[in-house]
């Protein structure tokens, strides 16, 4: 019996981690900054490829993953400076620009690195409870997802940067008038967002096949989570992930992956219909 209970928790944790890790970066870039970043998946791919590349050079996995997230973050700052900066007042054009970027990046990776890269294998081990065996690494992923949420809370709620960043997102002109260097705030926020995307790729790299289009498998889930979460990263994305993870886990377990995926998307449609501003609008209003 305890095996069944643990199994349910494990499956929930697994889907939750996937949703949070793939959506956290987008929650900042799209949820807070309002940039429809179609290249989100490519930042995830970047994190995965850098991780595998470094591990193949002999760098220990955890350090490789941290460096990969950092790389994606720095590239994000660069992309913000060169491309995204020009589109803050034209969100639909930013969709087009980042989509173009995404196409250029996937095709370049295909041409430069090739169509498939050899994986590095999942670390840690496995453990058994009852008749089931579980991969320890999946629990590490869950731990990382919780840590990412905690980290975001600290950065955006407890630091001076966080206060200025939230002020900038709410009213950039006013923040600027009060002396905030909004340009830099935008660049850093975008960098944090893409860095988190890179972290997602870095963490999932050992468990997946690496191909240039691998980001696509994360993109639907991440957009869906952010859209139903709404503008607030902590009060939106996290509850959205909990909610979607429960639906998906229950349906996956009883009816298989197809129904799990359909059920999750149906739930999303219903939520957007009832709460067009996302979960966070309701939760934030309650909180006041």
């Amino acid at each position: 019996m305890s095996a069944e209970v643990f199994s349910v928790f494990y499956q929930f944790a697994d889907v939750f981690a996937f949703l949070i890790l793939s959506a956290a970066g987008l929650a900042i870039v799209f949820g807070m900054m309002g940039v429809i970043n179609m290249a989100h998946g490519e930042f995830i791919m970047c994190g995965a490829y850098v991780t595998v590349g470094l591990v193949n050079l002999g760098v220990p996995l955890a350090i490789a993953q941290a460096l990969a997230a950092l790389t994606a973050g720095l590239i994000g700052v660069l992309v913000e400076f060169l491309v995204v900066r020009r589109f803050y007042k034209r969100p639909l054009d930013s969709l087009l620009a980042t989509w173009g970027l995404s196409l250029i990046v996937t095709q370049s990776m295909l041409l430069i690195v090739g169509s498939a890269v050899r994986g590095i294998g999942t670390p840690e081990g496995s453990f058994a409870i009852g008749g089931y065996t579980f991969s320890t690494y999946r629990l590490v992923l869950f731990g990382c997802a919780v840590a990412v949420l905690a980290g975001l809370y600290v950065i955006f709620m407890k630091t001076r940067f966080g206060v200025i960043a939230r002020a900038t997102m709410q009213n950039a002109a006013m923040a600027k008038a009060l002396g905030a260097r909004t340009g830099r705030i935008y660049a850093i926020s975008f960098g944090i967002g893409t860095g988190l995307a890179g972290l997602c790729g870095a963490l999932y790299a050992p468990t997946m096949t690496l191909i240039p289009t691998m980001g696509a498998t994360f993109v639907v889930e991440s957009f869906v989570t952010v859209v139903i979460g709404g503008a607030n990263v902590l009060l939106g994305t996290a509850p959205a992930a909990v909610f979607l993870a429960m639906i998906r886990m229950a349906l996956n377990a009883s009816y298989g992956q197809i129904i799990g995926q359909i059920g999750m998307l149906v739930a999303v449609i219903l939520i957007i219909r009832v709460m067009p501003e996302g979960l966070s609008s309701v939760l934030v209003r309650r909180g006041r």
Binding site: Q11, G114, R118, S126, S135
Partner: protein, 413 residues
């Protein structure tokens, strides 16, 4: 009306034939146009790349040795990027605008079924170069890959005998996965085995923690893994990490997806497959072929069976055209109907079956060890693609243009 058209074609073919032999001396004939549709970007690029390479290698070799009927080959490759709508668009473009003499390609069965109605409206021959779930009875299509009677009727009884009667199936959720699972159900039933679970996975899904537990709950003796694409292949890594540790069988792993080269050992340990080609074949003919391939494409990770079949397709086309002395489908089919459509391939001699226009293959059962070494477990010799003929498909008499499955058989007339 039909016979009139046929007669016209025969005459035209004969004229073309004479024209070709006349101008072989003059060597001023326009090249033969070969239309090729293979994904070299998108989710299946890693499989499609060897197909493009195989075609390029064959074209280069044939052109160097004088072409087909003295005519050079011009390869027109378009990349449909794994998108079925693009397959149709590019198929129309090659057939109607470029007026290719032959169309080759397609990776998934979905892309093939998207193309087939378009090909059927023309008189252009179409070569499908993958192993697949079988059953297509269509005069326009020549299938170069292996089919279930060559792959499943060999593999499944062997797996049942070796590992046990309970199987769990993970399959990609489209026609290939669904029909292959149907084949498995039929063969398992005949063997008195039990399918303890079947899970169909949408393409693009990459997370399998729940699937792994569903499998452990069902307690199968072995797994049939017919999951497709890079995302779904993540199953192997995740199952290994969770220490699932079950024997696996498949019709597409190793020789097609070269998972044993893409994943870190021992993720593919204990995988079994029946194949007409895998790069580890070490006969002299195969070794010679591999040497030529790697000389032209030194970075190739693995010569997969699709790439190998794509290579063979051009030699089969050359043989058919030269024996028919014509590039017309009708004339080529007369060569097939006479049972003369054979080539000496790197795997050995392969022939096209007149009734179904599918190819005979020498099948071997291979297994993968903990260090991802590939071992031949059993050599079945040459197996004919007999199933379509047995259930009543006879393209020498009637063009059904249909795809049959164990639950969708031709109507008895």
């Amino acid at each position: 009306m039909i016979s009139g058209r046929k007669l016209g074609m025969v005459l035209l073919g004969a004229m073309l034939g004479t024209a070709a032999s006349m101008s072989a001396a003059q060597a001023a004939e326009p090249p033969l146009k070969v239309g090729l549709l293979e994904d070299v970007s998108g989710d299946l690029a890693f499989m499609g790349m060897p197909k493009l390479h195989g075609s390029q290698l064959a074209v280069e070799e044939i052109n160097k040795s004088g072409g087909i009927l003295g005519r050079q080959i011009e390869l027109i490759h378009l990349d449909p990027q794994g998108d079925n709508a693009r397959y149709q668009e590019f198929g129309r473009r090659l057939l109607n605008r470029d007026k290719v003499d032959v169309l080759i390609g397609g990776i998934t069965s979905a892309s093939r079924e998207a193309l087939r109605p378009i090909v059927d409206r023309t008189t252009t021959p179409y070569f499908y170069t993958n192993q697949y779930e079988g059953g297509v009875c269509d005069a326009s299509m020549i299938s170069m890959g292996a089919v279930p009677e060559q792959q499943f009727s060999t593999l499944i009884p062997w797996m049942v005998e070796k590992f046990g009667k309970k199987v769990y199936v993970i399959a990609a959720d489209y026609n290939f996965g669904q029909i292959s699972a149907e084949w498995n159900r039929k063969i398992m039933k005949d063997l008195g085995g039990e399918v303890v679970g079947e899970e169909f996975i949408p393409l693009g899904v990459s997370q399998f923690a729940q699937t792994i537990q569903n499998i452990q709950k069902a307690k199968p003796d072995w797994l049939l893994t017919i999951n497709v694409g890079a995302a779904q292949d993540s199953f192997f890594e995740q199952a290994a990490a969770a220490n699932l540790n079950l024997p696996m069988g498949s019709s597409i792993k190793i020789m097609l997806g070269f998972e044993h080269k893409r994943f870190k050992p021992p993720a593919l340990n204990n995988m079994h497959a029946t194949a007409n080609w895998f790069e580890e074949i070490d006969t002299p003919e195969a070794t010679e072929f591999k040497k030529r391939w790697h000389a032209k494409f030194p970075d190739e990770l693995y010569i997969n069976d699709m790439g190998y079949n794509a290579y063979n397709a051009l030699y089969m086309y050359k043989t058919l055209v030269e024996k028919a002395k014509s590039t017309k489908l009708e004339d080529m089919r007369k060569v097939i109907a006479a049972g003369d459509a054979c080539i000496d391939a790197p795997e050995g001699k392969v022939c096209i079956d007149p009734k179904s226009q599918h190819t005979s293959h020498r099948m071997r059962l291979i297994s993968v060890g903990p260090k991802h070494e590939v071992k031949v477990e059993k050599d079945y010799g040459t197996i004919q693609p007999y199933w379509l003929g047995e259930i009543g498909c006879d393209l020498t008499k009637k063009n059904d243009k249909d795809q049959y499955t164990p639950s969708h058989l031709p109507k008895k007339s």
